[in-house]
């Protein structure tokens, strides 16, 4: 995935879309104040400079699906592992809730179901049948909308054709009004995401940690 920070307006549509698509529960104001909100993608907001020269910067952060993910070797039950397609998978059924993966993740993008997820009526009508519901005590995180990836792959196979670039859009990318989020196949050098990842504006978040994240953040160099 490529995230263009120069296009991001901080509107938060990606967050809402992710909640809707992936059956992420809202935890309530009290729990959110205690730091237990479960935003698989979050928009970090930073203020730079002193008034009146204040600038606001937004950075959407989701699971980076690192190629050398520190969350994977530490999971005792293989609930967190790397798929052959390069995604970091989270298997809810295999998770026993040690929360080691969340500690190991430098991006803090892994979340724990502290209570049994609730959807107060009528929100239960909005649940996505393609995504399993999690129970209390398991970890969850951004999957790059693996249900959409699987659906598109199955469709392409049924139609006996290759996947097109741009055919798979995770919920966040689909909802973004300024097209800041671009998703695609990094193995295809001609895809949008590959070209954007090679851009001179591109950096990796916490790249020096050696996690080999797959998300490239594009940002114009500014002074100061």
């Amino acid at each position: 995935m490529a995230v263009d920070l120069d296009r991001c307006t901080g509107c938060g549509a990606c967050v809402t879309a992710c909640h809707a698509e992936n059956n992420i529960p809202t935890v309530g104001a009290d729990q959110a104040a205690r730091g237990r909100a479960m935003h698989w993608i979050r928009v970090e907001r930073y203020f730079e400079g002193e008034f009146p020269d204040v600038r606001v910067k937004f950075r959407p952060v989701m699971c980076q699906h690192c190629d050398a993910a520190p969350c994977e070797p530490v999971c005792p039950t293989y609930a967190s592992h790397h798929t052959s397609e390069g995604l970091n998978a989270q298997v809810y059924n295999r998770c026993i809730g040690t929360r080691y993966c969340a500690n190991a993740c430098p991006y803090n993008v892994r979340f724990f179901d502290f209570f049994h997820p609730q959807w107060p009526k009528p929100l239960h009508l909005q649940l996505n049948p393609d995504v399993s519901l999690r129970e209390v005590g398991v970890m969850e995180k951004c999957t790059f909308c693996v249900q959409r990836i699987s659906a598109a792959e199955i469709q392409a196979k049924a139609d006996n054709r290759e996947l097109q670039d741009g055919e798979i859009k995770p919920a966040c990318a689909q909802a973004c009004p300024s097209k800041a989020l671009v998703f695609g196949d990094l193995n295809d050098p001609d895809s949008d995401v590959s070209r954007l990842s090679r851009s001179g504006r591109g950096t990796k978040l916490l790249g020096d940690l050696g996690t080999l994240p797959k998300v490239t953040y594009l940002e114009r160099e500014t002074q100061g």
Binding site: A69, C71, P73, S80, S84
Partner: protein
Amino acid sequence: MTAIYALYSDPDHVQRAVDNLRAAGLHDRDIVVISSEPIEEYEFSARDKATWLFYAAGFGGVVGLVFATWLTTMTQKAWPIVTGNMAIVAWWPNMIIMFELTMLGAILATVITMLVAANLPKRGPKLYDPEVADGKILVGIENPPSTSVQSIERALLSGGVARLKKIGARP
């Protein structure tokens, strides 16, 4: 089970009794010395010292090592799952498992061998006297052949202050 034994207060007398029993023609393995604590400084206690226990521990360790190597490499290869860009058969963490199971194997082998060698748990009739718990040392023969009873008694009594006791059928 029949037995003839005597109780002594002093290990010097025990040594003399054991020597007398040997002179009376009894084998070392037939002479039983029982005490409530180990007595290291005398010859009579050195008879059974040689042991295979250290080799047993080493063997148990090797078994543990082989098992651990097999367990880790077999399971990692059986369902190869990529985690964190690490090798499928990851030797660094496997070595930790191998170390732990080696030590576990050595420990278990030691204890099992010790229990077997010491003949524990021992059920059924055995040569013992409650006065041993008060510090007396027991020297005796289990199942003595009837012809030797007289010479055994002489050997035990000549050891000095002693009380002679018998268990079981009397000749």
